[in-house]
Structures are given as C-alpha cells and as structure tokens.
C-alpha cells in the first residue's frame, strides 16, 4: 500500500463532503455580532464574571410583555419596581418607592420615590417616569392586551383605556413634583402593593421605550413580534445593564457603574441557555457555569457529595391532586374525602420529592396570608378512607382515570411519573383502581383544564407574590372544567374577599375560605416541593427568594 493511493481513495469521499460544504456555505448569513465584552476581570482575587445556566431564552427583555421565569430572571437584574420584597420572603418592601400611603378607602396610593436615581440611559427616574409606565400599561393595544403578551397587566389590572374599561382597576396617575406619584384605582384592591413587586410592573425608561419603539409589537399581521426595545435595548434602574443577547446561546449583562445602591462583586453576568437538564448539571461539574436552577431530585446527593453548594428556596408553590367532580363517583364529597385520607403525603414526599419539601394541608404555603391551622388535616388513615367509600356506596372501591404529564419537570412537580405511581398505589390500597393516562405536557395542560373527561390529574402552581388570591383565586374562582366543581357560596366568598379593602378582615375571610375548601375537597393539596439551586463552591452567598426576587449584586464570591 502506498500512502499516495490511500489518500486518493479518501479524497473521493472527502470531495463529496467538500463540494457539499461549498454549496451549502452559499446560504451562510452575515450577521452583525455584538461583542461579549472582556471576560472576567479580577476584583481582588475574585473572578467577577458570574455565569448561570438558564433553561431557555427569555421570551422578551421587556418585562411588561413577559410572564416566564427566564425573562424575569434577567429582568430582575436590569429593572426595579416601586415595590420589592423583603429578603428571603414574599412580603412587599420599599424599593424605588421609599414609602407609600393609602387613602380614600384603599383607592388612592401616594408613592414617595427614592431621589437621585437614574435610569441606565442617564435619564432621571422621577414621578413622571412612574406615571409614564402606568399609563403605558393602561394604554396597551390589540395583541398587547392578550394574555400571551401582557399577561400580568391583563390578569391583575383587568381593563384598558380602550377595552374593558369598566373592569379596569387602574384609573389614573399624577406626578406631584419629582418625587411623589399618586396612583388612583377604580376600586380597593389589597393585592395592589404586593402585585407591584412583580417584574412585569418594573419601572422602565420612558425615553428608551420611545426611542426603541417598545410598543411596536406586531408586524404586518397581528401576530406578536419583539420590539427593538425588547430585543436588545432594555433600560431600567437596576444594578446591571444589558449588553448582548445571542438567541438560543447566551445573554450578557454588565455592571451598572452608576447604580444607586450596592454594586456588589459581580461585573458581568452571563446567562447561558442550556435546555437539557443533565447538560446543565455536567456544565456545572465541568466548572463552565457557576450555577443553575431547579436541580433534579436525583442529582442533589451527587452534587452535594462532590462539594457543590446547594441552596433551597422557601417553597412558594403547591402541588395538588386534581379531582373532576363531574365524574359520577367523584361528585360525592365523601369519595373526595376518602381520597384525602387514602394518601400518605409524608411517604409520598419522602419517596419522590426533594429533601426539604413540605406537606401541603391547604392550597397556600404557610407564609401566605390566610393560612390557618384550623382546617381538616386528613391525616393518613386507610380505614377511615374505606369507611367513607362504603358510606358513599362504593364498598369495593371503583375505577377512574388518572392523567399525568410525562415529559416535564416543574418546580411544583419535580417528578410527575414517580408521583403518579406512588399515589396510584396508595389509592389502590383503599380500592380505588386508576387507569394510567400519561400525556405529553403540551397536550396535557390544555386537556385537563379544557374538558371534563378525566377523573384525577396532577397539577400545581408557583405563586407570584404574597396574596392568597394569587393561589386559591387562580384555582377556584369559578366553575372550571379542570375540577368540574360548582359551589356558588365558595365562588362568592372568593370574589368578596378579593374586593375587600381592609387587610385584617380580608385575612380572616381567607381563613374561612381555606376551611371551606378543606371540607369540600375540590382537589387534594399534596406538597410544597422545595426548589433547589446548585452552585460552584466559590459562590458563598446567594439571595434565594421564594418568589425568585434574586438580584445578583447580592451574590458573594470567594474566588
């Protein structure tokens, strides 16, 4: 064999490849690529670049048009709202507003603003800017009024200048001087202040929004598209400013040198998009990233043993077993109570949930107003469950369907398939035979929430801010195909509670509602699973927050 001959043999095959390559490279695009900035300059002995793996791209850099966790993770660094949260809790605390006063029976709020604060584009943050933001939301048009785009304004403020005006909670905003803004609501809403801690209501630079056409959100058709502002020109008052977004790959933020507060150690944040959960874990193990969110229960021990820092968020969510009261057997409250008694929540948590998960007795975590110990606890009791089934006329149990998603892991539902297996075995022990109905996540949510042809299912919710209506109001504010449950008294109580202006009285009302729900069992609260973040050992402090109000100037690095 000569070397020359061998080479020629290979050349033939290689030519195939090369010619194809030439042909294909004709399609290549030229793209103006932004630069990532200098990588990790040192402050003392600390590498001041912090890299975090996100599970997807943010939907939008304009938080008013976002509702997903990845958008908010980025927005929290760039923007600040009038109201923030107390560290480590979901309770509202002053942020860009130093204080506020409520008057006229909870319909007028006077915000006293922090002075000397500037947006990252150099324009002043003042009362005019506050009103510009409120008026912008109120004047959303067309597709912006859809829940797919301006979700939070739509669902919380309910009406706009040109649509559903009679339902609108917001009325007007007036600037009194530079540092006082007066916001008037059409009716009292106790949830107003906590709701303002959501990134969707963060203060954005009116100048920048105008310059980069933040409200141009649809193309020739009505379909939404990202504005120039939302694609790459967001401007807030936060400790980090936007640098680059390479869709699908990464987002880079840089320190805001003019930030009014603590600038922290970090000079540059890189959010890398890694969709695959095991790939995020391996990227951390290979020290390519400093941390990632929602560590799978199976990975906790491995990472801990390898010396990584695991940090838990106080759970602000609930996982429940949904029951369709339209099904013959399940329409009987005794059957639903029997199901409650049949489930050993502690065993379930121990076997399939991450360590630190709390047992759920009601549909809100204990840190939310309205939580009460005074509810029926349904301690695990097989005999009692069997007895109730007998009383209901099903001494030998019955058969029903049980829907669960197969391809998803949510903060409130880390391991759906395992949870399903566990619960169905427990139900089997009291005679309730379930027919497994696994389903793809995209199909699942619309199926179980969209029609009443199902028996049991699993779903949950992560709260946005400290307000009971943000939990129970979401589930039981009316008859829904998901629960097929109809109780006019409960629906009215929830509506009344939402409208109350006195917080003390409202809390009491919610405590009654919790008891009512517990007696009626429209669904069974199972657990408050703990979400865990994993970090490289150099991350010594991370400001974990139940509502993910985590701003990276609070992170401490050791090297």
């Amino acid at each position: 064999m000569t070397r020359k001959g061998m080479r020629r043999g290979l050349t033939v095959a290689a030519t195939t490849v090369a010619v194809s390559a030439l042909l294909l490279s004709g399609c290549a695009s030229k793209r103006d690529e932004g630069t990532g900035g200098s990588g990790g300059s040192a402050e003392g002995n600390v590498n001041s670049t912090f890299s975090f793996a996100a599970s997807s791209d943010p939907k939008s850099l304009d938080p008013a048009f976002a509702s997903d966790g990845e958008s908010f993770r980025v927005s929290r660094q760039i923007f600040e709202g009038l109201v923030g949260t107390k560290a480590g809790t979901a309770d509202p605390a002053p942020l860009l507003a130093e204080s506020w006063e409520e008057s006229s029976k909870g319909t007028v709020y006077d915000f006293k603003l922090k002075t000397g604060v500037k947006f990252q584009d150099g324009t002043a943050f003042d009362a005019k800017a506050v009103c510009a933001n409120f008026d912008r939301w109120y004047n959303f048009k067309g597709i912006q009024q859809s829940e797919g785009v301006g979700y939070y304004y739509k669902s919380l403020f309910q009406g706009y200048a040109d649509k559903d005006t009679d339902k609108a909670v917001y009325k007007s905003c007036e600037a009194a001087g530079d540092s006082e803004a007066k916001v008037t609501l059409t009716r009292p809403w106790v949830g107003f202040i906590p709701a303002l801690s959501l990134p969707a209501f963060a203060m954005q630079s009116p100048e920048a929004m105008k310059k980069y056409k933040a409200d141009e959100t649809s193309g020739s058709a009505d379909a939404p598209k990202l504005s120039q502002y939302a694609l790459g020109n967001p401007v807030g008052t936060g400790p980090f400013k936007f640098s680059e977004w390479k869709n699908g790959d990464h987002i880079t933020l840089e320190r805001n040198a003019d930030y009014w507060g603590d600038k922290g150690q970090i000079e540059k944040i890189i959010f890398r998009v890694i969709a695959d959960a095991p790939a995020r874990k391996q990227a951390l193990e290979a020290k390519e990233i400093d941390g990632y969110d929602l560590v799978g229960p199976a990975d906790l021990k491995v990472l801990k043993d390898a010396g990584f820092n695991l940090i838990n968020r106080d759970p602000f969510n609930v996982l429940y077993l949904g029951i369709n009261s339209k099904e013959k057997e399940l329409s009987n409250v005794k059957v639903r109570q029997a199901i409650s008694y049949a489930i050993d929540k502690d065993a379930l948590i121990k076997q399939v949930m991450p360590e630190g998960t709390k047992t759920a007795m009601e549909f809100i975590p204990s840190s939310v107003r309205g939580y009460t110990e005074n509810v029926e606890k349904y301690e695990y009791n097989v005999e009692k469950a069997k007895e109730l089934l007998k009383e209901a006329g099903y001494p030998d149990g019955f058969k029903t369907t049980f829907y669960y998603p197969t391809d998803v892991s949510r903060p409130y539902m880390p391991t759906p398939a395992d949870t399903f297996t566990n619960i169905s075995q427990q139900l089997d022990a009291v005679g309730i035979k379930v027919e497994a109905k696994p389903m793809k996540w995209t199909e699942y949510t619309s199926y179980v929430q969209g029609n009443d042809k199902h028996g049991l299912h699993m779903l949950g919710w992560t709260g946005d801010y400290n307000d009971p209506d943000n939990f129970v109001g979401v589930f039981f504010n009316g008859e829904k195909p998901e629960f097929g449950f109809d109780n006019a008294e409960l629906f009215k109580n929830l509506e009344d509670a939402r409208q109350m202006s006195d917080q003390g009285a409202q809390t009491k009302k919610y405590e009654e509602i919790m008891k009512q729900i517990s007696d009626l069992v429209p669904a069974v609260p199972l657990a408050h699973p703990v979400p865990t973040l994993a970090f490289n050992e150099r991350v010594t402090t991370y400001p974990a927050s139940p509502v993910q109000d985590e701003v990276y100037n609070q992170i401490k690095l050791s090297k």
Partner: protein
C-alpha cells in the same frame, strides 16, 4: 449535464410542494398547539382563542395554507411563535452551526470508517475483522444521548480537556461574519476563537458521527470484500500488478461507489438527525431549533425548517449523483 440538473431541481420543486401540504397538516395535528405553549399551564380558553386569532390559526386550514404559501413565495416564512423573531433570520443563525457539526461528524466517520472497513475486509475472518464489526455494531446501538453523556463525563468533567456544551466560549471576544465559527476564526485571524470553536465541535461531532461511522465501516467492508474477489482483480493480480496499484485502482475505486452513496445519504441525515446531539450539547443548530419548535408547537419554524432540511437533503443527493461520474466514468451524465 445541465439538463440533468434542471430536471432534478424541477422534481425537487414538485416534491417540496407535496411536502408543504403534508407538513402543514402534520404540524397542525401536533397536540397542544402554539397558543397553549405560549400561555403556559393556566391559559384561559379566551386567551388561547385570542392568540390563535392573532396568528390566523383559527381560519379554515385551506385558507391558512394559501395565505402561508403566498407569503413563502415572497420569501416570508413568518415569525416564530416562541422567539417572535423571523423564521428566516433564526434559520440563518442556526444553519452554519449544524453545517459545521455535520461536516465534522461525516469527516470523522469517513476518515475512520473507510480505513477501518478496508482493514477489516483485508483481514476477513480474523480478529481485526471481528473487532471492526463489533465496533460498528456498538456505534449503531449506543443511543446518542448516552454516548454524549459518557463522552462529556470523561473528557469534560473528569479530564477537563473539552467543553460540555455550546459552540464557543462566551467570554471570548470573537467576531463573527459568516456564523461558521471555524471559518470566522480563520478570516478574522482570531485563531484562538477558531480553535475554541473546534474544541466545541469535537464531542458533539464524535457523538453525532458514531452512527455514520458504523455504517460506513460496514459498507466499505462489504464493498471491498465483494470487489477483491472479482475476476478483474484476480486477473490484475495474475498479471503481476503491485499490491498498491491493485488496491488503489482496482479495489478501492470500485468499492467507493456504494460508499459514496452512503456518505451522501448519511450527511443528509446528519442535518436532520442532529436533534438529540444538539440538545444534549446545548449546541445552537437546526436540530436544537427543531427540538424547541416541537416542544412549543411552533408551526412556522417547524414548517420552514423541515422544508429547508428537505432541500438540503435533496441537494446533497444531487451532488452525490454528480460525483458518481467522477468516480465511475460509466455513469457520467452527458
């Protein structure tokens, strides 16, 4: 020759037309739909209806198809429902990534597969042959995601030689003109950036190339076995040809015909089949784009991407057919 190419391209257009109808129906049969994916788990029926109306997904399917094709003819493939960016922009950002990865993988498969297959055939029935057969079996049966996990665990986590994910170190201040990162590294003389991009190609390239490697090895082995037993090889040997001439001119050249077909087909498949590899390596290519689009029932992206991949596949096959002529004068198109 030109007539042949025009005829093939005409057939391609016809195929694409048929495919566009099938695709249009198929993506709409996906469970969930884009509105549900956009709105998350608490979507109200009204919100879903509003989104469907905005995108025109509530119109009769024939009307949707006609509107869509009308736009496609003008080069407008619509906006992704997930990223809200033009599909075409997204495609041209992701295509170079997949092209680099697919070419790396096929080169890896060809450079190892052909010599390995030849070596096996030459040592037919001996341990070398068994070794290569077992190796190629393993290449086919090991799932890509598992191989990827193992490769990353060894070379990235344990040894720290190669990166686990991405296309290039984000911290590098690399300039990109073509979005072919290797090429960009050469054009801009930013060799460190090019080298870094190359390092990011190695593990996904090997994972992706494992299946074509196995197939090419087996095809080469079979082809060489067949050719080396042919009469003309025996005759050439009897005439006293040197072993190297025998191998190059008589055996390999003839054995290369089926191999070239396989390489072409495999390369086409790599463009379509990089879904898993790109996902587990967080590698921003077409496969990753398709995986995301399926998860989010992103109709515009799915429709366009699958069409584009079909075009790429067809063009690669056309090139392979033309290359036949280079290898085998008997089938040269006049």
């Amino acid at each position: 020759m030109l007539k042949f190419i025009i005829k093939r391209l005409g057939l391609l257009l016809l195929t694409l037309f048929g495919l566009s109808i099938l695709l249009f129906l198929w993506v709409r049969a996906l469970p969930g739909g884009p509105a549900t994916a956009m709105l998350g788990e608490r979507a109200t029926p009204e919100a879903i209806a509003a989104i469907n109306k905005a995108y025109g997904f509530d119109r009769p399917i024939l009307e949707q198809y006609v509107t869509y094709m009308g736009k496609v003819i003008t080069g407008d493939f619509g906006n992704s429902t997930q990223s809200q960016r033009p599909v075409l922009t997204q495609f041209f950002n992701q295509f170079p990534a997949t092209a680099e990865l697919a070419l790396f993988a096929i080169l890896f498969a060809v450079l190892i597969g052909i010599p390995l297959g030849y070596w096996a055939a030459k040592n037919y029935g001996k341990w070398q042959d068994n070794f290569s057969v077992i190796l190629s079996l393993l290449g086919v049966v090991i799932p890509v995601f598992f191989l990827a996990f193992i490769l990353k665990w060894i070379f990235a986590v344990q040894l720290g030689w190669l990166p686990t994910s991405g296309r290039q170190d984000v911290g590098l201040d690399a300039t990109h003109y073509t979005n072919f990162f290797l090429l960009d590294g050469l054009i801009t003389a930013e060799f460190d950036a090019g080298w870094d991009a190359f390092k990011h190609l190695i593990l996904p390239g090997i994972a992706l190339g494992s299946i074509p490697l196995a197939i090419i090895t087996r095809i080469t082995r079979a082809a060489v076995l067949e050719v080396q037993g042919a009469d003309y090889v025996r005759t050439a040997k009897a005439k006293g040809m040197t072993p190297s001439i025998l191998r190059d001119r008589f055996i390999l050249r003839n054995a290369m015909l089926p191999v070239a077909t396989t390489v072409g087909l495999q390369l086409g498949l790599l463009f379509a089949g990089a879904v898993l590899t790109e996902t587990v390596f967080a590698y921003q290519g077409l496969g990753y784009g398709i995986a995301q689009a399926i998860t989010n029932a992103d109709y515009p992206v799915l429709q366009a991407y699958i069409m584009f991949i079909a075009v790429i596949y067809a063009l690669i096959n056309l090139v392979v057919d033309l290359l036949y002529g280079v290898i085998d004068p008997r089938v040269r198109v006049k």
